[in-house]
């Protein structure tokens, strides 16, 4: 079926006029009708808009214009990215009716490439969570086992690519929110270097960590999406003005001569043994293909979660101060005065996890505690970053598990926030250092759930990560496996 194909395979068919973008949209939406009631990956579907955009792409192909590789390709967008004229909720009640008057820079870029937007995907409220269970709207189910979570916070964007209800998607990654759900849903997910992609129009969570990135069915599509979204932007002062290479040039099926480091600190007793086996097998594959593998040490790894749960909530507490009921979003019906309006609006509009993080962050920044918590965390962040700097003197790429466990059951960790936070133990260290990181499918545990291999490189060395990921993919079959979605159960 058309909806099962990759963007690059579909581009060939569109270019050769074997198919039309409109037929592709119709095929995709028929599949959405069948499986979306079970997966629940979307918060908003934009079929009319998709057909309009598909028609435009078809007109270009029919004229024989030179069309960009993503023209006519259906893409889903995490509901934290502002889409002009299309509701953007961030998974929160407080933005239930928010319709952005502008497009995020990534959307402007994608539209210039002629993509077709399928819809907006479900997420943990304000991207705070590791399971997408913190959405104010619905629970998204992992297509590999509908009783399990898809990961988070970009769980919807991962699930729809896994379920073939989008060809590719965009998510955002603050502490692992692209890489972890990609691993749990068996798809490719990449967080580019901090500053590679403009954050303009990405609703802010933790501004020193947030980065937009793609979910795709293979590494080639990942490179194509990076080509479309990367680049500095006058609207984001933290976007970095470095040349953007053609990432498809990094799709080289050869790792000979590349040095891969395996940090011993990631292989703790807390790591699921089946996942450890799967990662060791994947590393052995890369070694057989000619890479040099050596054990390395990143001694401050165990402090990454504690550091993250100060820095991210602190920045979030400041960023989320804007939700005051004045300019947009929910407002309490009948406040007696301005301060009461703020308090009631925020208390009624935010969910529990968001409140917990605002509280944690406000505390960490409050008088008397700022040095002990926030400044301390920023110092430990330096130590974590220094570990990586030293490691990349010796190796080109670091290989680790993406997640310590496969997808867990819905409800399993919701009662214990700290337990949920520890889901990010493998992904937060690289976030602190702003590194590019990809998760690629590298096997399955016995219960049938997918496992992800995380590959990291020095800042702006996405080419090395892509090259190793591509070589691994070209020599393995894991990424070709598709979930059998149980559509016979209750929707």
């Amino acid at each position: 079926m058309l909806y099962e194909l990759t963007a690059h395979a579909l581009h060939e068919k569109l270019k050769n006029r074997e198919i039309t973008a409109v037929a592709l949209v119709e095929s995709l939406y028929a599949h959405i009708d069948a499986v979306e009631p079970h997966v629940k990956g979307y918060l908003t579907l934009t079929k009319d808009l998709a057909l309009e955009q598909a028609n435009r792409a078809d007109a270009g192909f029919q004229k024989g214009d030179e069309m960009p590789p993503l023209a006519g390709i259906p893409i889903a967008i995490k509901d934290v990215i502002c889409t002009r004229g299309v509701r953007t909720t961030c998974g929160s009640k407080i933005l239930e009716n928010f319709v952005p008057p502008y497009d995020a820079t990534v959307m402007t870029k994608l539209h210039e490439h002629g993509v077709v937007m399928v819809g907006k995907t479900n997420m943990d409220e304000f991207a705070m969570g590791s399971s997408t269970e913190n959405s104010a709207y619905q629970i998204t189910h992992n297509p590999w086992n509908l009783d399990t979570i898809p990961g988070g916070s970009s769980g919807g964007s991962a699930a729809v690519v896994s379920a073939d209800t989008a060809i590719c998607s965009l998510g955002s990654d603050t502490g692992g929110s692209i890489r972890q759900p990609a691993a749990l849903c068996g798809v490719v997910g990449m967080k580019p270097t901090y500053g590679r992609v403009s954050r303009y129009g990405l609703v802010a969570f933790a501004s020193s960590l947030d980065q937009i990135g793609p979910f795709t069915k293979d590494v080639t599509d990942c490179a194509l999406l990076l080509n479309a979204i990367c680049g500095s932007d006058a609207m984001d002062a933290t976007s970095v003005d470095v040349p953007v290479p053609d990432f498809t040039q990094s799709l080289i099926n050869d790792v000979s001569g590349l040095r891969i480091g395996v940090p011993k600190e990631y292989f703790t007793p807390a790591l699921d043994t089946e996942i450890a086996d799967s990662i060791h097998n994947a590393i052995a594959v890369l070694e057989d293909l000619g890479a040099t593998v050596e054990e390395i040490s990143l001694p401050h790894t165990e402090y990454a979660i504690a550091t993250y749960y100060i820095i991210a909530p602190a920045e979030a507490s400041a960023n989320l101060a804007r939700y005051d009921g004045v300019r947009y979003g929910y407002r309490n019906d009948n406040p007696e005065d301005l301060i009461t309006m703020y308090k009631k609006t925020r208390s009624e509009g935010f969910g529990e996890e968001v409140k917990r993080r605002i509280m944690l962050g406000t505390f960490a920044l409050s008088a008397g505690y700022q040095d002990a918590y926030y400044k301390k965390a920023q110092k430990v962040r330096t130590l974590i970053k220094s570990d990586f700097d030293a490691a990349f003197e010796k190796v080109d790429v670091i290989a680790t598990p993406t997640s310590p466990t496969p997808a867990f059951r819905i409800g399993e960790r919701t009662a214990d926030p700290l337990q949920m936070y520890l889901s990010d133990v493998m992904t937060t260290p690289a976030s602190h250092a702003g590194l590019p990181g990809i998760s690629v499918p590298c096997g399955f545990v016995e219960s049938g759930l997918p496992v992800g291999l995380q590959l990291l490189s020095a800042p702006f060395a996405e080419d090395k990560v892509l090259r190793v990921a591509y070589t691994f993919e070209q020599n393995t079959e894991h990424h070709r496996q598709k979930p059998q979605i149980q559509t016979n159960g209750a929707a």
């Binding site: 933290t238 402090y303 504690a306 100060i310 917990r356």
Partner: protein
């Protein structure tokens, strides 16, 4: 590192413009204390001589120019078109005569 009391939670909630009932206050106190206890593990590390990282690309520009060695890059001071007022007000809960309406702050009788 200190822990947090119900009193502390009430104080922080007020700073954050949130309000909780007694049960929620207890609940948050318990959870935040547990998280802060875990975060306390950072005290195992000696960091007196470690500079803090506020941004991971030290060569990168900042409007505030706060980082050592960071170049100042200013944008040309040119007026550019902004979004139309009606588009921006379209999301406002209570727009009023082209402005954002809020509960009265100043008493007109004085």
């Amino acid at each position: 590192m200190a822990t947090i009391t119900t009193e502390g939670v009430r104080h922080v909630a007020n700073l954050a413009r949130l309000e909780f009932n007694d049960e929620e206050t207890e609940h948050f106190t318990e959870q935040l204390a547990r998280i802060l206890d875990y975060i306390g593990k950072l005290n195992e590390l000696e960091t007196d001589d470690v500079p803090p990282t506020s941004h991971i690309h030290p060569h990168q520009i900042f409007i505030m120019g706060s980082q050592e060695g960071a170049a100042h890059v200013a944008k040309p001071d040119v007026v550019k078109p902004s979004y139309p007022r009606e588009d921006v007000l379209a999301n406002a809960p209570e727009p009023e005569e082209g402005y954002f309406g809020v509960p009265r702050v100043v008493d007109r009788s004085h």
